[in-house]
């Protein structure tokens, strides 16, 4: 395959992934949570560690560990589905009235070469700025990075794993009733 067509393949893949991630943001902010859930594989791992302030030469201690420590999130699809179900009850007061949320997605990086076969997995990085405003003047801003593993299932990409790196140590918001 020529260089240029290889480049083109990578570009088309990146476009495909961006459309997926923008679509995801659209579903979340339009509160279409059930459709959003369908973007994840059944065996998805959704992990958001906490962060510590440690000396520069001990940065391996910076993050709490998946599967071992207490994290902000460390779960699979079932728990995610319960979160969605809870919001839709209409009596989840923390989201009633519904927050006004905007997911700004930036710096989308596809780290894997376009896969040959129909079924495949690729690694993707992206960054988020989440703006939440609710009730009268309550406003939150959360910024950080995401590391996704995407898997092609029946011809469309699904999120099989997501690591969320929030750029905070003490969480500066009262709750996490939204998704990253």
């Amino acid at each position: 395959m020529s260089d240029e067509s290889a480049e083109l393949a990578r570009l088309l893949l990146k476009h495909e992934i961006e459309e997926l991630l923008y679509r995801e943001a659209e579903l979340l902010d339009e509160r279409r949570y059930e459709e959003w859930l369908e973007l994840f594989t059944e065996d998805v791992r959704y992990w958001m560690p906490m962060r510590r302030n440690v000396p520069r030469d001990e940065l391996e201690r910076e993050f709490t560990r998946e599967g071992t420590d207490v994290n902000w999130f460390d779960e699979g699809k079932e728990t995610l589905a319960r979160r969605v179900k809870q919001i839709l009850t209409g009596v989840h007061w923390a989201e009633e009235p519904a927050s006004r949320i905007c997911h700004m997605v930036c710096n989308v990086q596809v780290l894997t070469a376009p896969p040959a076969g129909p079924s495949a997995e690729i690694a993707v990085k992206s960054r988020f700025l989440i703006y939440r405003n609710r009730v009268e003047t309550e406003t939150d801003l959360l910024v950080g990075k995401r590391e996704d593993l995407l898997r092609r299932v029946d011809g469309s990409w699904k999120i099989a794993r997501r690591k969320i790196v929030l750029d905070q140590s003490v969480l500066l918001v009262k709750n996490l009733t939204f998704f990253f």
Binding site: V54, T89, H92, A94, L172, N175
Partner: protein, 447 residues
């Protein structure tokens, strides 16, 4: 209100009639007075021994508004210091945790040993000659410290009563959190990671809520509908609760309280954790062992509670300890640790860890709604008119009894049996009675 620094709080807190003014939640003056009279004098929780196992280990913690260093010196002794240099106040340790031989100040380089001693002073001889009396300029250390079953408690006030006296009869209930589930003394450990987050409300909203609020079921209705419990339904396994007597236990003269449950005499061990056989087995075995070890006391189990002023054990699964650090009258910083039996099998710890995360804290389906309610209860109480209308704490007034006894089992404290009533505000009244006492007393001798 009268000037919060000196004036009395007459009329603001009337627990006998079950009314408490909103002023105490929103007033700047009262808040400042709380810092002097409560947080500078009371026993406060700062951490757990399992967080700093080795000599030189340290954990930066918080007492009231201030940063403190909890550390273990080279002989393994425990210390808690104000995290501020004696020279110009620089925060000497800006890391959260680690292991060190010394704390060196980044401003001018004074360095302190893990026992707080001022051991390094640049140009000491040339610049200070004999003038500087190092023994007077070590890190500021707490006046008293106790490690009780791994939980470390401290106070800035040397005239404060000893911790066990401060704790009093509440010991029995705190043990429900700190002892192993099978009834052995101690044997719990913290699993990694401290949940730290900010809530826009006064610190007393969560403190009183945990002290004994059985009444806010509507807050969590969505979770009950969705189901996150260990057996897949509701918030919790309910059967053993439903079969038990419900007791609101308070020590009004101390301010401590807990929601407790008492199984029926010879009631069997209720099924639980049906989703997870291994976990179900583990707890059944623990219950049996505890029964053997504790006899009648096996029948007692706990729920949320508060050790005055701002430390809240939650003695059942998810088993946690929360500290409500004041950050101004209108903001609270929560620190939350999670406890497990140190020698529970990995799959049990893992199961519980998942349960903690989906239940507790800012990402917990249950507590997310608590934060929302505390936030807007506080906000809607700040106004000029609102402050003229006190909160209502009448529920279950006058129903408490002392010398509780059930089939020969004696329980300390003033107890309101709410098995039929479902709830009371007995514990909250006890909390504010003690709060009033702290705020009125100019020193411990006045208590």
């Amino acid at each position: 209100m009268a000037d919060g620094r000196s004036g009395s709080l007459n009329g603001l807190v009337d627990v006998d009639n079950g009314v408490v003014s909103r002023e105490i939640f929103v007033s700047e003056e009262i808040y400042r007075r709380e810092q002097e009279r409560i947080f500078a004098r009371a026993w406060l929780f700062v951490g757990h021994e399992s967080q700093i196992p080795r000599p030189g280990d340290y954990l930066v913690s918080s007492m009231g508004e201030e940063s403190v260093i909890l550390c273990r010196d080279r002989e393994g002794g425990l210390h808690v210091f104000l995290n501020s240099c004696r020279h110009r106040g620089m925060k000497v340790c800006r890391y959260d945790e680690g292991n060190t031989r010394e704390f060196t100040c980044p401003y001018h380089g004074w360095s302190y040993a893990t026992d707080g001693a001022l051991v390094g002073v640049p140009y000491a001889k040339d610049a200070y000659g004999e003038q500087l009396d190092r023994s007077r300029w070590g890190l500021v250390e707490v006046a008293q410290m106790v490690s009780y079953k791994g939980a470390i408690w401290v106070t800035w006030d040397r005239s404060a009563p000893p911790f066990l006296e401060y704790l009093g009869g509440y010991k029995l209930y705190l043990d429900l959190l700190l002892d192993a589930w099978d009834g052995r003394e101690g044997g719990t450990e913290v699993i990694g990671g401290i949940h730290k987050w900010l809530i826009p409300c006064n610190w007393k909203f969560p403190a009183e809520n945990f002290s004994g609020d059985r009444y806010h079921g509507v807050s969590h209705r969505s979770v009950d509908m969705v189901g996150i419990g260990p057996s897949g339904k509701g918030r919790r396994d309910m059967q053993e609760r439903n079969e038990a007597r419900w007791l609101d236990v308070s020590f009004p003269e101390l301010g401590h309280s807990m929601i407790a449950f008492l199984r029926k005499h010879d009631s069997p061990i209720a099924p639980a954790y049906q989703d997870a056989p291994a976990v179900a087995d583990y707890f059944r075995r623990c219950e049996e062992d505890r029964k053997r070890r504790r006899g009648e006391y096996w029948r007692l189990f706990g729920g949320p509670g508060t050790v005055f002023p701002n430390t809240s054990p939650l003695a059942r699964q998810p088993r946690t300890l929360a500290v409500w650090h004041p950050r101004g009258p209108h903001q609270t910083e929560v620190w939350r640790i999670y406890l497990v039996d140190a020698d529970a099998p990995p799959e049990v710890k893992d199961f519980l860890r998942h349960y903690y995360i989906r239940y507790s804290g800012p990402s917990g389906l249950t507590e997310q709604d608590d934060m929302e309610n505390w936030n807007y209860a506080h906000k809607a109480s700040r106004g000029t008119i609102a402050r003229r209308f006190p909160y209502n704490y009448e529920m279950g007034l006058g129903r408490a009894t002392r010398g509780f006894e059930d089939h020969g089992l004696r329980l300390p404290g003033a107890i309101t049996d709410v098995t039929a009533a479902n709830a009371s505000e007995h514990n909250q009244r006890g909390f504010y009675r003690r709060w009033r006492q702290f705020m009125d007393a100019s020193s411990w001798s006045d208590f």
